[in-house]
């Protein structure tokens, strides 16, 4: 088909700017210290269709260019127009590779059809051209192009200085994907030796170990299986490629959590313990929650659905899920992170009969943004990962209309090897649907028709589940990376919720890892069987082979079951919303996962074998405490100077530039936002939403994460994460008697092998973390209702291998009876009395101060006493008393005390209120001055109370450790003393400047 080129560029002139160009200019300055005098941009559209170029040329201003602010033209290279002059020094054009999701192109195609409805097969691809003026002479054009595109998914053409002088401008052509070759299903002979079995797994990216290959081999040796297969006219003695791929997806670490389900032989050399743990998940996560479920009536659905559901009031229930998207985000930070957030939104939509996502949380772990050391091949600089991941989550969340209400960004060198991208979503649903069914229970029966709804299936997204179960290497496949399409998903979401309320849905789940193979396969467990016809599945591009259709993880798809009599109504609703919905399967009760391609049977697997056939892993775990040089602070120090340094640490510094770019208050429900205080820049401890309009009944959303404590003990790391999540929520007034948690483990590979010689130690870390999780959650009466693990967070092999620190993100959601009775972290009124709730011990091991002083050469190591939680029952009692005081209106100021201890917490409270405070830390615990000022002991919250409420507050806190610290002052300085010793005196604006400057990353260019 003929292709018409349309180019559009911003008008120049008074009040007009080329903002896209300016953004590139700022980034070059911030990330690379390169100054460009001017950068301009051109948006390009390649229109492949039957409409004549002349007809398109007449409508440029109706669609492609906004005549008020832009100039556009068809079949004219903008660079040849006078406005670009003759001075460009470098020109770079970036477009998508064939087959990669092009969202602007999709939208343009939709708009094109509004104008030219007859040209039904038209397709539009987009590109962006950057035009540079006044670049430093040593700035290489190809290097510059490398900073502006990701070769995995994008292509770039470059005109360097010479080409620019020649006026030889780059022109991208329409990206036509290569023909896909349809391959008939093959059978794969497994009657071979072990080495060959392993090779089949490795070369096929199946990520199945030898035991698992043996289990599959054994299945096809079973005579009754062979007979059954012969009857169905499918290869009797060997799996088809469809079956092998399907088993690999379903049995992947990603889907089956084999390490958490494994049988572990655990040896502790510290205590002499030698024992066996049969499934960490069942022992330490599921059992405690099920025990707690007996005591409360609000735990509606735990573990088995796409998210955990709790009753919130008589009319509504709420649910939450968090996921990670680490490997895709390492390869393509933007696309990987975006599919992470829109993917977890679908988990909520796929909960029960469909919940509405109402809040997002985002927690990222990155390498230091100012990293100047070596970078392994194939890895991006941490600042680029930060920008890309942030942009992906921003676009995914904002365009979906879901507020991001809580999150964190954590930095450590080791996350250079694998960034962690945690995305969480909270959902809400009516307890009962209009037809009387409880909305948290799926109700499919055999005979129901299964639809694939939303996007189409493409080559993108093949092997995501198995790929994330392998370590990152230079050969990681590009098909594992995708770009999300939030608008297609939003249309689907609107449609699905209408279908739910109309009573049309009997079962629903997300198409995530493993694609249709997992989604239909898992739902088929309800009725014990299904029959799928892959030939009916709508494709982005013809030619996909059956196994590819079955396992492709192409985004924006839900799998929904509908009663036969409701099909017409369901399809009409899909038409109205312009959402594609195709019947692709039927539920049966045959006990078989039966897949056809038109008339031919291409897979025929027993449901039981598919879901229960994977052999349990047998693993070895061995604990020896790591030996680290202890952190020993110098005898004297300038604490004011230390505080200035600490406020600039990326782990402590304000993340405002980044977080402010998330919409955190769409839906008009966010009562405590990420930013608080007089300048709206103080840190919010937890998000509070009141989701029912007009009703102040609230929900608290918080998180805790403390990965560096794993350097000393991953058990302490887990306890600290949970305690931090609870403390954050208590600070805003959580009802501690109705809270639920999510455990998201990200670990380096803990299976001992030649690649992982220290696997036993890493597994022992996992055992200890799980034991602490159980101990603390039981004490806090805090059930884990959903969770996820990602167990292969390593880069490379051998001596250059980078393994992340074992990391648990603990997310919490809980009840807030009345959001009008909340507290925030900013100091509010002169004369308010400041108290420390909790005690400061001598716990500086793995503290932020220890890391800073060690990196600066002021100390020799970060080891020592890591913060512990010896008596969690007492902490809970204290938290209950404090949160009740907040909800009684006695306390309006509360702030969690964590990284950087009392000193940093006080500084942040002063910044929030733009006020001074005068504080004495004498008598606040057993630690020395370092421990009391900088230590990170758990269980501590700083509060401020107005004098009129002081007596009532103290009597409410009777029996709980509560020590007066000082007073909110009229001065503009924070002063901290230890008895007569002056420790800190810093001006609040100085502190605010340091705290806000570090992670600004805008380059200071206007």
């Amino acid at each position: 088909m003929p292709v018409t080129r349309v180019e559009v560029t911003p008008r120049q002139g008074e009040g007009m700017r080329d903002v896209r160009g300016d953004v590139v200019r700022r980034q070059l300055k911030a990330d690379h210290n390169i100054s460009a005098a001017k950068v301009r941009s051109i948006c390009g559209y390649l229109i492949s269709g039957e409409t004549p170029s002349e007809a398109i040329a007449e409508r440029v201003d109706d669609l492609f260019a906004d005549p008020i602010i832009e100039v556009g033209a068809a079949n004219t290279t903008m660079l040849t127009t006078p406005s670009f002059g003759d001075g460009p020094e470098t020109v770079i054009t970036v477009g998508f590779k064939p087959g990669v999701t092009d969202n602007p192109g999709k939208a343009a195609t939709d708009g094109f059809l509004t104008l030219f409805p007859a040209d039904g097969n038209a397709k539009i691809a987009t590109y962006t051209t950057y035009v540079f003026y006044g670049l430093p002479s040593d700035c290489d054009a190809n290097w510059l192009a490398g900073t502006l595109h990701n070769g995995l998914i994008e292509r770039a053409l470059v005109a360097d200085r010479a080409a620019c002088a020649d006026q030889s401008w780059p022109e991208l052509t329409f990206p036509t994907p290569p023909e896909q070759v349809f391959i008939e299903p093959q059978s794969i002979d497994l009657e071979c030796d072990d080495a060959t079995l392993e090779e089949i797994s490795t070369t096929g990216l199946l990520a199945l170990n030898l035991n698992e290959m043996h289990a599959i081999q054994a299945h096809y040796r079973d005579e009754s299986v062979r007979q059954q297969r012969a009857d169905m006219d499918i290869s009797p003695n060997a799996p088809t490629d469809v079956e092998l791929e399907c088993l690999a997806q379903t049995w992947s670490e990603h889907c089956k959590h084999k390490i958490f389900a494994s049988r572990i032989h655990h040896v502790d050399h510290e205590t002499g313990e030698d024992t066996v743990v049969d499934s960490l998940f069942k022992t330490h996560i599921m059992k405690p929650t099920h025990d707690m479920q007996k005591d409360v009536d609000w735990l509606l659905s735990v573990f088995h659905d796409n998210s955990g559901v709790i009753a919130w009031d008589d009319k509504w229930s709420v649910c939450m899920k968090a996921e990670t998207h680490n490997s895709p985000s390492a390869l393509d930070p933007y696309g990987g992170a975006m599919t992470g957030i829109v993917g977890v939104n679908r988990d909520i939509l796929g909960t029960g009969l469909g919940a509405r996502p109402i809040a997002n949380t985002d927690v990222f772990c990155f390498g230091p943004p100012d990293w100047e050391g070596q970078l392994p091949d194939n890895l991006f600089h941490p600042s680029r990962v930060l920008r890309g991941v942030h942009a992906g989550v921003r676009v995914g969340g904002n365009e979906s209309g879901i507020p991001t209400v809580n999150g964190a960004i954590v930095f450590d060198d080791r996350y250079i090897g694998k960034p962690l991208v945690y995305c969480g979503t909270v959902g809400i649903m009516p307890r009962q649907l209009p037809d009387g069914r409880p909305s948290h229970v799926k109700t499919p029966v055999a005979g129901d028709i299964v639809y694939m709804v939303g996007g189409r299936v493409g080559y993108d997204g093949i092997h995501g589940a198995t790929f994330s179960s392998l370590e990152l290497t230079e050969e990681s496949p590009s098909s594992a990376v995708q770009i999300g399409d939030p608008i297609t998903q939003k249309k689907m979401l609107d449609m699905v919720l209408e279908a739910r309320d109309a009573g049309l849905i009997t079962c629903i789940t997300d198409n995530g890892a493993g694609g249709l193979s997992s989604s239909i396969g898992e739902m088929a467990e309800y009725t014990n069987g299904c029959e799928i016809d892959l030939a009916k599945v709508p494709l982005k591009q013809a030619g996909l082979s059956p196994w590819e259709i079955l396992v492709s993880e192409s985004q924006e798809r839900m799998t929904i079951a509908v009663k036969p009599e409701d099909q017409a109504a369901f399809e009409a609703l899909a038409d109205l919303h312009e959402v594609e919905a195709t019947a692709v399967a039927t539920f049966t009760s045959t006990g078989m996962f039966h897949v056809r391609y038109a008339d031919a049977t291409v897979a025929y697997l027993p449901i039981e074998f598919l879901h229960e056939g994977v052999p349990q892993l047998q693993l070895e775990s061995e604990w020896r405490p790591p030996e680290l040089p202890s952190f020993a602070p110098p005898s004297t120090a300038d604490h004011s100077e230390l505080l200035q340094g600490m406020l600039q640490r990326p782990n402590i510094a304000s993340k405002e530039t980044w977080v402010r770019q998330y919409d955190h208050e769409v839906i008009a429900q966010t009562a405590i936002k990420p930013f608080v205080g007089v300048e709206r820049d103080g840190p919010g401890d937890a998000g509070v939403i009141a989701p029912i309009h007009g009703d102040p009944h609230g929900l608290v959303i918080s998180c805790g994460i403390a990965p560096r404590y794993s350097d000393i003990d991953a058990g302490a790391m887990a306890a600290a994460s949970i305690d931090e999540a609870v403390r954050n929520a208590v600070c805003v007034g959580l009802d501690v008697d109705k809270m639920a948690g999510l455990d998201n483990f990200c670990w380096p590979d803990p299976i001992e092998s030649t690649k992982t010689p220290d696997g036993r130690f890493k597994l022992a870390q996992l055992v200890r973390a799980n034991r602490e999780l159980e101990r603390v959650c039981r004490a806090y009466r805090l059930p884990c209702v959903s969770g996820k693990d990602s167990m292969k967070n390593d880069y490379g092999t051998g001596p250059d291998k980078i393994s992340i620190p074992p990391t648990l993100l603990f997310s919490l959601f809980g009840d807030h009876p009345d959001v009008r009775k909340s507290a925030t972290s900013d100091f509010k009124f002169e004369g308010d009395k400041i108290y420390l709730v909790g005690e400061s011990k001598q716990e500086l091991g793995a503290s932020e101060l220890a890391f800073m002083m060690t990196e600066n050469g002021q100390a020799k190591g970060v080891g020592g006493h890591v913060p512990l939680l010896p008596h969690p029952e007492q902490n809970l009692a204290t938290y209950r008393a404090l949160s009740q005081s907040i909800r009684a209106g006695l306390v309006r100021t509360a702030h969690d005390c964590s990284e950087g201890g009392v000193a940093v917490a006080l500084a942040e409270m002063c910044i929030g209120g733009r006020t001074g405070a005068s504080v004495d830390i004498d008598g606040t615990g057993s630690g020395d001055v370092w421990g009391r000022l900088w230590g990170e002991s758990l269980g501590r919250i700083i509060v401020a109370v107005s004098p009129e409420h002081e007596d009532a507050f103290l009597s409410a806190m009777k029996g709980h450790p509560t020590t007066v610290l000082g007073t909110v002052s009229a001065s503009s300085s924070l002063t901290i003393t230890d008895g007569d010793d002056e420790l800190v005196e810093l001006d609040v604006e100085t502190m605010a400047g340091l705290w806000k400057g570090t992670l600004d990353l805008t380059g200071g260019v206007i």
């Binding site: 906004d66 832009e70 509004t114 365009e399 939003k490 249309k491 770019q661 839906i667 009008r820 309006r892």
Partner: protein
């Protein structure tokens, strides 16, 4: 009578639930209506008294915010929209809805006395900062504006949440003409100025003006004062518990709805609902 409000949704509009809720809090009934239901004729715009185009990301803001949804409305709902305006019924566009109304040409619209001609006269473009941001701003209303939505309102705090909120017109004359008619209904102001004295033509620094809008324009109305659009979100402060400083002001009640917890933004919606009631 109870005024009926059509709240559009679909294709990425995402503030439809709260927009419906705020109209209902001030005594209207409101329906979330998918754009395609109006285009197909399943529902008729003329059956409604007020039209609201809520915020969101229709079509992902691709090809310019509000452009593609604006086109669908401009080409497929042209007659219905013209009749609605000619019948003197109020329309509001908030954030993405404002962008849609500007790009359909309903705002600022033709001179007084003319029917809508669907010619685009201004635009909303990328913030000077290059960033989408959610931040609270202080707004002030032109007391002489013909806008029926903002009667009696002086100053308000509420959030902006956009990446393309910079209002521009081709020439200073274009804006002067709107200003002379008091169609520059609402502007960003410096909160340290006395209420009522904040509006200025001098460009305010970022972030007081969050986007670099010409003359700090936050919202405009058409010549009749019935069609109104603004980038900030008045519905996001329908209750005082949504204000970032509510923990400072305690729980004492004030006047208005929601047990005395009515937020400043609700009045804007009440004005339109009362206008319709009085007219009928």
């Amino acid at each position: 009578m109870t005024p009926r409000v059509a709240v559009l949704f679909g294709f990425g509009i995402n503030c439809d639930h709260e927009t419906k809720a705020v109209f209902e809090l001030v005594g209207a009934t409101a329906d979330r209506l998918h754009v395609n239901r109006l285009i197909s004729g399943d529902e008729r715009l003329e059956d409604y008294d007020i039209l609201a185009v809520p915020g969101g990301f229709s079509f992902g803001d691709h090809l310019g915010s509000g452009r593609l949804l604006g086109n669908r409305m401009r080409f497929a709902m042209r007659d219905a929209l013209r009749s609605f305006v000619d019948a003197g019924k109020p329309i509001i566009g908030i954030c993405n809805g404002f962008q849609v109304l500007v790009k359909t040409g309903l705002l600022p619209g033709p001179e007084a006395g003319h029917s809508p001609d669907f010619i685009q006269r201004g635009s909303l473009t990328l913030n000077d900062s290059g960033r989408y941001e959610d931040r609270w701003v202080t707004l002030e209303f032109d007391p002489e504006s013909p806008c029926i939505w903002t009667k009696g309102m002086t100053r308000m705090e509420c959030p902006v949440r956009h990446g393309e909120g910079k209002y521009v017109m081709p020439s200073a004359d274009d804006i002067d003409r709107l200003d002379a008619n008091h169609q520059l209904t609402v502007r960003y102001v410096d909160p340290s100025t006395p209420p009522g004295a904040g509006r200025t033509d001098e460009a305010l620094p970022y972030p007081l003006s969050p986007n670099g809008s010409m003359r700090n324009i936050a919202g405009i109305c058409d010549a009749t004062g019935l069609v109104f659009g603004l980038m900030p979100h008045p519905e996001a402060i329908y209750a005082r518990w949504l204000h970032p400083m509510h923990t400072r002001h305690g729980s004492e009640a004030s006047s208005g709805a929601l047990d005395g917890w009515e937020g400043e933004g609700l009045q804007l919606f009440r004005n339109a609902v009362e206008y319709v009631k009085q007219r009928s």
